[in-house]
C-alpha cells in the first residue's frame, strides 16, 4: 500500500521550490526596461558598486523585485488560505474571500485612501495598516458570532461570514459612490488588485507574517484531513477538533487579510489553485497545502509578469490575467480528470 512518505514529500516540495526560483529569475528579466543576465550578475556581485548603470539597478531592485516577492507571498497566502477554508467548510467551492475578511481589509484600506491619511509608522504606509486593521476586526467579529456554547459552529460561521462580507461590500460600494473623482480612481485601482505598491519594509513584514502563518497551518495539515470527514468522525479519530477549527479559521483569515491589505482583491488564486493542485497531487493536506502554496506563488509571479509586459507600458490588473488564463485552463482540466469531479451526493 502506498502512503505519503517523507521522501516523496521532499522531492515534490524541492522540485516546486526550484520552479519558483526559476519563475522569479525569469520574471526579473521581463519588462519594458531591458535588463539582461550580464547586468544582473554584475549587480549581484557588487550591489553597492558605483559603476553599475544606476537606472537599471533601481528598476530591478526597487521596482521589479519587490513586486515579484509580493506576488510570491500573496499568491502563496491566497492559495493556502483557499485550501484551509475548503477543508474547514468541507466545501470545494470555498475561497479565501467567503468569510468576509477580504471585504473588511478592503474597507479599511479604502477608508485610508478616502481620508487621504498619510500617517506613516516608520516607513510603513497607512493603507495596508488600515487594511489589516479592517481585516482583523472582521475576523474577531465573525469568530465571536460563530460560537454556539463556546464551540465554533462551522455552519454559523459560514452564514455570519457571508453576511458580514456582503454588508462590508455594500459599505464599500457606498463609499465608492460618494467619493470624489480623484479619490475614486485611487479606490478602484486599489480594489482591482495591484502588486506594485509596496516597499521593502512592509514587504518583509508581510512575508514573515505569511510564512509563519503558513507554517502553523502546515503543522495542522493532518488535522485538516480528519476535519474534512466531519466533526464527529474527526473526534472519534482522536482529533482536537475545536483547536483545529480555531487555528484553521484564524490562520487562513489572517494570511488572507494580510495579502489583501497589501495587494487588493486578486481573485481566482484562492479557489483555482487548491482545486488544480488537488487534481494533481490528491487530497492529503500534508502535501496539498505546501504544494498549493508554492503553486500559488509561481502562478501569481507569472501572471503578474504577463500583466506588466503584455501591453507594456500599460499594466493590466493582475486579477484580469488570473481569471482569463486560469478559468479556461481549469475547465479543461475538470473535463479531463477523474479526481476533479466532486461527488454527486
Amino acid at each position: 500500500m502506498e502512503s505519503l512518505s517523507l521522501r516523496r514529500w521532499l522531492t515534490i516540495i524541492f522540485f516546486l521550490t526550484i520552479l519558483l526560483i526559476g519563475a522569479i529569475i525569469f520574471s526579473s528579466f521581463q519588462g519594458s526596461a531591458d535588463i539582461n543576465i550580464k547586468d544582473a550578475t554584475e549587480l549581484l556581485s557588487n550591489p553597492l558598486s558605483q559603476n553599475w548603470p544606476n537606472t537599471k539597478a533601481v528598476i530591478l531592485l526597487k521596482v521589479r523585485l519587490p513586486r515579484i516577492i509580493l506576488a510570491c507571498v500573496v499568491g502563496g497566502a491566497l492559495a493556502v488560505a483557499g485550501v484551509v477554508l475548503q477543508a474547514l467548510l468541507r466545501n470545494p467551492l470555498a475561497d479565501p474571500y467567503v468569510l468576509g475578511v477580504s471585504s473588511g481589509s478592503a474597507l479599511g484600506a479604502i477608508i485610508a485612501i478616502l481620508l487621504g491619511l498619510n500617517i506613516n509608522i516608520g516607513t510603513l504606509s497607512s493603507v495596508p495598516l488600515f487594511g489589516f486593521g479592517g481585516g482583523l476586526g472582521t475576523i474577531l467579529f465573525v469568530y465571536q458570532f460563530s460560537k454556539i456554547h463556546r464551540k465554533i459552529s462551522v455552519q454559523t460561521m459560514l452564514l455570519v461570514g457571508v453576511v458580514t462580507g456582503a454588508i462590508l461590500s455594500a459599505v464599500i460600494m457606498f463609499i465608492t459612490s460618494i467619493a470624489g473623482p480623484h479619490k475614486l480612481q485611487g479606490i478602484v485601482f486599489w480594489l482591482m488588485g495591484n502588486l506594485g505598491a509596496e516597499e521593502y519594509p512592509m514587504l518583509l513584514i508581510v512575508s514573515f507574517y505569511v510564512l509563519v502563518g503558513v507554517l502553523i497551518l502546515l503543522y495542522h495539515a493532518r488535522g485538516l484531513n480528519l476535519l474534512v470527514l466531519g466533526e464527529e468522525s474527526a473526534l472519534q479519530l482522536g482529533l482536537e477538533v475545536e483547536r483545529t477549527k480555531k487555528v484553521a479559521f484564524i490562520g487562513a483569515s489572517l494570511i488572507t487579510g494580510a495579502a489583501v491589505s497589501v495587494s487588493g482583491l486578486i481573485g481566482f488564486v484562492g479557489i483555482l489553485i487548491p482545486h488544480l493542485v488537488r487534481m494533481i497531487v490528491g487530497s492529503d493536506h500534508r502535501l496539498l497545502l505546501p504544494v498549493a502554496g508554492l503553486s500559488g506563488s509561481i502562478y501569481l509571479v507569472l501572471a503578474d509578469t504577463l500583466a506588466r509586459t503584455v501591453m507594456a507600458p500599460t499594466e493590466i490588473p493582475v486579477g484580469v490575467i488570473t481569471a482569463i488564463c486560469g478559468g479556461p485552463f481549469f475547465i479543461y482540466l475538470l473535463k479531463h480528470s477523474k479526481k476533479g469531479q466532486a461527488p454527486l451526493l
Binding site: 464527529e232 479519530l237 479526481k339 451526493l345
Partner: protein, 278 residues
C-alpha cells in the same frame, strides 16, 4: 469479567426533549452487545456519548474504570473505534488514505505514517476484503464497499472497543453475514468488545451476547437475546405485532414481522401454534 464501560444515570438532550432519560448499564469486556429499539429511541446518541462526541447533561460514563472526560481525545481514539452510519467525503481521498486515517490517534505532529502503520492498515483491509480497492477513490465505491472500508479504518485504530452504527444497512446478505462473522471472529480472537446498533433484529439476536432494548430514551430490557426478544417486549416497544420463534439452526430467537393486513383470525391462529419463547 470486568466492565469496560460503566454508564451511570445518563441524561442527554439535543434541544428540549430528553433523548436519554436516566440510563444506566454496563458493557462487559469482550462481549458483543446489541442496542436495538425503534427510530428515535436514542441508539445513535448512546454511541455518540460512548465515543465522547457528545457531553451528557447529567450522569457519568466510565471507560476502563476511568471517567471518560479525563481522557485526551487521542487516547479515546486509541481505545474506541467507531463505524458511523453515514460517511460523506467532500474531497476525493483514496481508499488507502481513508483507512490510514484510522492510524491517526497513534501518530503525532506532522505525522508521516511508518511501516508499522502501513502494515496495520493493510491487515485491516485484508480482514474486510478491501485490499484490492486501495488505490480507488472513495466516492467511486458502492455503498457496501464504502462501508467495509470504514470498518477497515476503525480496525486500523487497533481499538479495544468497536462501536458500529447499523453496519450492514447498505450490505447485501452475503456481505452482511461476512461482516458479522468478522466481528464474531475479532471478538473471539482478539477479545474485541463490540457494541452494535442494529435494526436487524435477527442478525442482532444471532450474533450478540446481550441485547439492550431502548424505548424512548430509557432501557426497556437488557439481557440475553432470549430474554429480550419476546413477543411481548417487541410488540410493546415497536407497536407492531411480531412472531418470535426459535431459529432452527442457531437456537436464537427469530423474529417474523406480522403484517397488519393479515386477517385477524389467521394471526391469532399463528400465534397459538408457534414455539413461543417464554
Amino acid at each position: 469479567m470486568d466492565a469496560i464501560y460503566e454508564v451511570k444515570n445518563l441524561k442527554f438532550r439535543y434541544l428540549e426533549n430528553w433523548v436519554l432519560d436516566d440510563v444506566s448499564f454496563e458493557v462487559i469486556e469482550g462481549e458483543i452487545l446489541g442496542i436495538i429499539g425503534p427510530n428515535g429511541s436514542g441508539k445513535t446518541t448512546i454511541l455518540r456519548l460512548l465515543s465522547r462526541v457528545l457531553t451528557p447533561q447529567q450522569g457519568e460514563i466510565y471507560l476502563q474504570k476511568k471517567n471518560i472526560f479525563q481522557f485526551q481525545q487521542r487516547e479515546i481514539g486509541r481505545i474506541v473505534g467507531v463505524v458511523p452510519q453515514e460517511n460523506y467525503f467532500p474531497f476525493p481521498f483514496t481508499v488507502g488514505e481513508v483507512v490510514l486515517m484510522g492510524r491517526s490517534p497513534w501518530l503525532s505532529g506532522f505525522g508521516f505514517e511508518r511501516n508499522e502503520d502501513l502494515q496495520i492498515a493493510s491487515e485491516a483491509m485484508a480482514l474486510t476484503n478491501t485490499l484490492g480497492l486501495s488505490n480507488r477513490l472513495i466516492f467511486e465505491l458502492s455503498g457496501g464497499e464504502k462501508q467495509r472500508v470504514i470498518i477497515a479504518r476503525a480496525l486500523a485504530q487497533k481499538p479495544q472497543v468497536m462501536l458500529l452504527d447499523e453496519p450492514t444497512v447498505y450490505l447485501d446478505i452475503g456481505h452482511q453475514v461476512e461482516i458479522y462473522d468478522l466481528i464474531k471472529k475479532l471478538n473471539a480472537e482478539k477479545r474485541l468488545t463490540v457494541i452494535i446498533v442494529s435494526h436487524d433484529l435477527n442478525l442482532a439476536s444471532g450474533y450478540c451476547d446481550r441485547l439492550l432494548l431502548l424505548d424512548r430514551g430509557a432501557i426497556y430490557e437488557m439481557g440475553t437475546p432470549k430474554e429480550v426478544i419476546t413477543e411481548e417486549n417487541l410488540s410493546r416497544v415497536y407497536h407492531s405485532k411480531v412472531l418470535v420463534e426459535e431459529n432452527p439452526v442457531t437456537g436464537a430467537p427469530r423474529v417474523t414481522l406480522l403484517s397488519k393486513l393479515m386477517p385477524g383470525k389467521f394471526r391469532e391462529k399463528k400465534l397459538t401454534r408457534s414455539n413461543k419463547i417464554t
